[in-house]
């Protein structure tokens, strides 16, 4: 058998998901069949004629297998590079427009406020103008988030107590949630410290919680858990010493096609309301901190919801004592 033929046969066998063991098995079966059906055949030469092509076939199979592995690896690397350059592009874009955008917002707020003064307190038009001013405040916050994203590479990290940062974020978040959403913070790793730029932890927690709350609508359970990654059975490799923040909701969940694009910049299932930046910003920050982020989500069946886990390298544990006497948990 020519090597080219063996190569083609090998490609077909790989396509059919045959392993090298299967090929050896084939050889064994062929030898047995020959010995049974042709007892007079000198087995040495018959075996040689059968074994040589099968050896070539095994070798070709290995080559094709390696070629396919390399192709898969290249595809993975390209996808990562593409995502990284897209995130970088978002940063550049955000930084470029932030100043002009704030100037525009400044003009809108200014003129709206001056016009507001021309109406009495009871006038509905005054209420409309107040809405314009409030919308501008939201836009300003969005610009600040985009700028923070653009600044990611230049922020100086400092040692931060994770539960304290998380608590502050949740205290900010709690009043903005619908009454039907129960917000619970389970702190199983008090005093864990991480190295992060100021605001990064709050940004991670806020972004994840806002997404979770939006997925639930008016009611549901939003549970934020802080644990040692070693206590998580599905922690990614290399996080034995890490800490895990899990944001879990009982919302509508994400189907697999949404999960696959969840970290893509400008990908949003909430358009036109959502900017599609929340999770990609979070992903960028987590990567910058040397961490990992995973999604587990169920969008069908009796219990839907999403759990997003952020694993961050933990430098030291500051204190052993629980946050409160009820045993580490707090409901906002």
């Amino acid at each position: 058998m020519a090597l080219a033929e063996a190569f083609e046969l090998g490609r077909r066998l790989v396509g059919e998901k045959a392993s090298p063991d299967d090929i050896v098995g084939l050889h064994h079966e062929a030898m047995l069949h020959l010995a049974t059906t042709q007892p007079l055949l000198p087995m040495g030469s018959a075996g040689g004629q059968l074994t040589l092509p099968l050896l070539e076939l095994t070798m070709a199979h290995g080559m094709v297998f390696r070629e396919q592995m390399e192709q898969k690896y290249q595809a993975l690397v390209s996808a990562r590079l593409e995502q990284s350059s897209r995130l970088e592009a978002v940063g550049t874009l955000a930084a470029g427009i932030a100043h002009d955008f704030n100037n525009i917002l400044g003009s809108v707020v200014g003129y709206a406020e001056m016009t507001e003064d021309a109406f009495s307190n009871e006038d509905p038009l005054r209420h409309n103008l107040r809405q314009i001013v409030m919308a501008c405040a939201r836009a300003q916050a969005l610009v600040a988030r985009m700028l923070a994203f653009a600044r990611q590479t230049s922020s100086e990290p400092v040692l931060q107590e994770l539960d304290d940062e998380m608590y502050q974020s949740l205290a900010l978040l709690a009043p903005t949630l619908s009454n039907g959403i129960e917000l619970v913070f389970l702190n199983h790793h008090p005093g864990a410290q991480v190295l992060a730029a100021p605001g990064h932890i709050q940004q991670i927690v806020m972004n994840l919680c806002i997404n979770a709350a939006e997925a639930m609508g008016d009611s549901g359970e939003l549970t934020i858990t802080l644990t040692a990654a070693a206590d998580e059975w599905n922690a990614p490799k290399g996080h034995d010493e890490s800490v895990c923040i899990c944001v879990s909701d009982t919302g509508s969940g994400m189907p697999p096609e949404v999960q696959a694009r969840a970290f893509d910049p400008f990908f949003s299932t909430k358009a036109p309301k959502g900017s599609g930046l929340g999770l990609s910003v979070t992903h960028g920050i987590v990567q910058q901190l040397g961490g990992d982020i995973t999604i587990f989500s169920r969008s069908s069946g009796p219990k839907t919801g999403t759990q997003i886990r952020v694993y961050l390298p933990c430098l030291e544990t500051g204190r052993e004592a629980p946050c409160n006497e009820e045993g580490l948990w707090r409901i906002f």
């Binding site: 930084a95 002009d100 400044g106 003009s107 707020v109 200014g110 003064d117 001013v133 600044r151 230049s154």
Partner: protein
């Protein structure tokens, strides 16, 4: 009522700010960059300068430093919307370090502006 000089390169924000201050009975003059602003300061000696931080030609920081070399005691309010990878807060912190009396991040409310003007004028 005070004589206030606004130094701001944004052609939409500048008239808005001028109108806001005029409505509060201040006498307002405007300049488009630090160089023009410095010439007007020397000529008119305003009671207060409100300057953007990031501008072409002479920016707000250079303007404040140039002003301090003139041995004047004119108070300054720095305003900024941030740019590139620099936040408005960073610009304004830099301005505070070199001695401006008040800072405002764009967009700001009319109340914030009134308070800043009052603070700067009282000294």
């Amino acid at each position: 009522m005070a004589h206030i000089l606004i130094i701001e390169d944004d052609e939409h924000f500048r008239p808005m700010l001028a109108q806001m201050l005029t409505q509060d009975n201040h006498r307002v003059r405007v300049a488009c960059n630090g160089e023009e602003g410095m010439a007007m300061v020397m000529a008119e000696k305003p009671d207060l300068v409100i300057t953007d931080v990031l501008m072409p030609k002479m920016d707000g920081i250079d303007f404040v430093m140039a002003l301090s070399r003139q041995n004047t005691s004119i108070p300054v309010i720095a305003i900024s919307g941030g740019r590139r990878a620099i936040s408005a807060e960073f610009n304004l912190d830099s301005a505070s370090l070199i001695g401006v009396q008040a800072t405002l991040a764009k967009p700001f409310s009319r109340t914030d502006l009134r308070q800043a003007v009052e603070k700067a004028l009282v000294g």
